[in-house]
Point group: C2
C-alpha cells in the first residue's frame, strides 16, 4: 500500500475537499485566504547520507514553503516540531531552517522540541493569498496550457551522484515569487512537482477532472552524466518546480521561466506524444 | 539536558518572543490574532501502554487544542502529520482525531501521511482570538489572584493505575470554553498545566517576571488510592487545566470552576506556605 491509497481510506472521514490539496485553507475576514501545510521528514527516508544539519533545516522549511508557494500565497510563519536523537543537532538544524524561512519572507514563529530515537521533523507553514488569486490542484480547463517552472529531474540527478545538482537536491528553492506571479497571471490550477512530474500531472488531472496532452519535443531535459534524462524529468522526485495550467493569453507578460509541456483536454488522463504516460512517482510504501 | 535548557540554545536564533509561549501569534487585519501551536507525540514516550488508536488520535488533537485554549482563542483548524509503522492504524487514529476536533468546534483540515519505524504524530492547530482578549504566559501583575481550573494530578493518578482517572489520562479535555471565558473576564496571563502545576508556575513566573505565593490549604487535591495527592497535584503532568492570573475583581461572575491558589507578588519565584516550591515537572531528557 502507498500513501495515496491510504489517503483514500480517510477521505470520507476528513472530507474530499480537505484531502484534495497539499494545503488547507481558511477564509479570513478581509477576502484573503490563510493557507497552511504540514510535512514530516525523517532521517532514514528523507535525508540523503552526507547532508549537513543546516541543509536538513533548510530542506525541512523549503518543502512546506513550496506547498504554500503552489497556492500563489506569500508565506508568513513556519512552526517546527523537532524530535532529536542528539540535542547537539538542534542549533545547526535551526540555523538552516531560519535561513530558509527568512530568504522567502517568512519567520520561524514557534515549534516543539522532543526526544526521539530517529531524527524526525515536522514543519507547518502558513501563508496568505488574495482570494481571487488562490490556486489549487483543481481548476484546470480544456484549452489551458500546461506548464512547469524549472527543470524537473535535477534533484534526482543529484541523488544519483551528479555533483552539479547537489544544491538542487539538498537546498531546494521553493518557487515563492514565481508562484505569486503565476497566480496573478491567471493560472487556473497549480501544485509543486516534488513527487515527480508524471505523478503530479495525474494528481492534477484527478483533482481538475481534465486530461493533459504533452509534447515531449517541448521538454527541456536536464543535462545528466548517467541514466536517462527523460526518466529523471518525468519520474524524479525532490524538485520544487511548479506545475500549472493557465489560459494561453495569461502567458504573455508572465515574467517567470517556464516550459509549456502541452495542452489541457477534457478527457481525464495523461498522454505524451499520443501515448498514455506511465503513472508512477515518489510515494511512501508499507 | 532537558528541553527547556535546549530551547535556551536557540532563543537568540529564533527570538525571545517566539520562544516564550506554547503558541505563535500573527495579527490579522481585523484586530484578531491568529494563534498556532504544534506538538509532537510518539509511541515510546507519549502513549501509555493499552491506549487505543482512537484515544491516541483524540489525545494528539487535544494537546494542541489545549495550547490554543490557553490563549483564550477558539480553535478553527488542525493539521495532522502522521508517521505510521502500520498503515492499518490510520483510520481508527483519525476517527479519534476528528472526534476531538469536532467536539471543540475545530476541523481536521489537512495533514501528511508518512511511513515511520515508530508511530509518530505532529498536530498543528490554529485558533483566533480578539486582540483585546489574547492571553499569554506573560502579563501577570502583583496583586492578581493565581488560579487553576480542574484538579491537577488526575492524569498522573490514572497513569499510576487508578481506573477512576483513566479518561483524564487517555482522553483529556482541553479547556476551550473555559479559556475563552477566563480571557474575557480579564485574565492577565494564562497557560495550560500539561507539564505539571509547579513547573508551569515557574514558567509563568519567568515569562511574567513576577512571583507566586501559594496557600496549600486552598488546594483541592485529587482523591487518590495510592501515592501522595500533593505530589500528584503539584508535579503530575498530562492534565489540561488552565493556570491563570487575574485581578481579583475579574473573578466575580466568572462562570468556570477554578481554584484560587494564592497571590501574585512582585518578586520572582514560587512559594508555597512560605517555603520555596520545588521546581520540577515533565520534561524531555537526553
Amino acid at each position: 500500500m502507498d500513501d495515496r491509497a491510504l489517503l483514500d481510506t480517510i477521505r470520507d472521514l476528513i472530507g474530499t475537499e480537505e484531502t484534495a490539496d497539499d494545503c488547507a485553507s481558511f477564509e479570513l475576514p478581509d477576502s484573503t485566504i490563510l493557507v497552511s501545510s504540514t510535512d514530516m521528514l525523517h532521517e532514514t527516508t528523507d535525508f540523503p547520507i552526507g547532508m549537513t544539519e543546516f541543509e536538513k533545516g533548510w530542506m525541512s522549511v523549503a518543502v512546506t514553503l513550496s506547498d504554500i508557494a503552489s497556492c500563489g500565497a506569500q508565506p508568513i510563519q513556519v512552526l517546527a516540531a523537532v524530535g532529536l536523537d542528539d540535542p547537539k543537532r538542534l542549533v545547526p538544524f535551526m540555523e538552516g531552517a531560519v535561513s530558509c524561512a527568512k530568504r522567502f519572507g517568512a519567520k520561524i514563529a514557534g515549534g516543539d522540541i522532543d526526544s526521539h530515537r530517529e531524527f524526525t521533523v515536522v514543519t507547518t507553514g502558513f501563508g496568505i493569498v488574495d482570494k481571487k488569486f488562490y490556486c489549487r490542484r483543481s481548476g484546470a480547463s480544456a484549452g489551458d496550457a500546461v506548464c512547469v517552472t524549472g527543470t524537473p529531474g535535477c534533484a534526482m540527478a543529484g541523488l544519483n551522484g551528479d555533483e552539479r545538482y547537489r544544491a538542487h537536491l539538498l537546498t531546494p528553492v521553493p518557487q515563492v515569487e514565481a508562484g505569486q506571479l503565476i497566480a496573478r497571471a491567471g493560472a487556473s490550477s497549480m501544485m509543486d512537482v516534488s513527487d515527480g512530474l508524471a505523478i503530479s500531472l495525474y494528481d492534477m488531472s484527478e483533482a481538475s477532472n481534465v486530461g493533459f496532452e504533452l509534447d515531449s519535443s517541448r521538454f527541456k531535459l536536464p543535462d545528466v552524466s548517467s541514466g536517462s534524462a527523460m526518466e529523471y524529468y518525468l519520474y524524479g522526485g525532490g524538485d520544487f518546480g511548479l506545475l500549472f495550467c493557465i489560459p494561453p493569453a495569461g502567458l504573455s507578460g508572465l515574467d517567470v521561466k517556464y516550459t509549456v509541456l502541452g495542452n489541457v483536454v477534457s478527457e481525464k488522463g495523461v498522454w505524451c506524444d499520443g501515448k498514455v504516460l506511465e503513472k508512477r512517482g515518489y510515494a511512501h510504501h508499507w
